[in-house]
Assembly symmetry: C2
Homo-oligomer: 104 residues x 2
DNA sequence: TTCAAATATTTAAATGTTTCGATGTTTTAA
DNA sequence: TTAAAACATCGAAACATTTAAATATTTGAA
């Protein structure tokens, strides 16, 4: 439907993106945040993250921002609350890129 | 043969390890190094890395050290040369840990 | 044994990251 | 409209990372 080039674009992740996602994953607090998605119902509220991590609100905000900028999390406003959804598509693309590093 | 606990140890990767590998992957030069393993014959020589990256020898040495400390690369001495082998097992465990972040 | 090649370590500068306190913005509820 | 709850941004301190120059170590060859 969209041709070969489009297909490649949808599948491949460039090195800048791999670097950015890796950096987002290179922090204990952010790994903990991502692990909460399995325990909760596939979404997480900003306030819940604050309860889980022993960090101030600005620090939590900073970590969530890194994850959003890496597109691992999708933010959704709900009134004055902020809900995050795990972006499984980006996570899968990242995993694919890592799989490509393996031979054959 | 080794029981349940041993099995878990072999499969699970703790958060400190995930953090360390992610950090090792969060640099353009180090991603480039890992990508060379598919192009070469599953092993890479230190000197080849120096040719590929536009960095001084100490910088190359630093990056290779990060990858070795994350156990993504296994170093093998060959006379005064150093050969690296991609540690596919660790890479696979890391990928499994990331897959576990996804729901169900 | 001595020299040169290959790699590692040390040091220091530049830059980036993490964290918190203070403050700003947006939104709901009184 | 005002107060307060939820989140973001700013500024600064502490710490970590990247890089290169200088130097050290290890090893093979002469």
């Amino acid at each position: 439907m969209y041709g070969y080039f489009y297909y490649l674009c949808a599948v491949m992740m460039d090195n800048k993106k791999i670097e950015k996602i890796s950096r987002a994953l290179s922090d204990a607090s952010r790994i903990t945040i991502l692990q909460q998605f399995r325990k909760r119902n596939d979404c997480l509220y900003c306030a819940e993250v604050h309860d889980i991590l022993d960090l101030t609100q600005p620090s939590v905000s900073h970590h969530l921002k890194q994850l959003v900028e890496a597109e691992l999390l999708l933010p959704e406003k709900e009134g004055r609350n902020l809900k995050y959804i795990l972006n499984e598509e980006v996570l899968s693309e990242y995993i694919s890129s890592l799989n490509d590093l393996k031979g054959k």
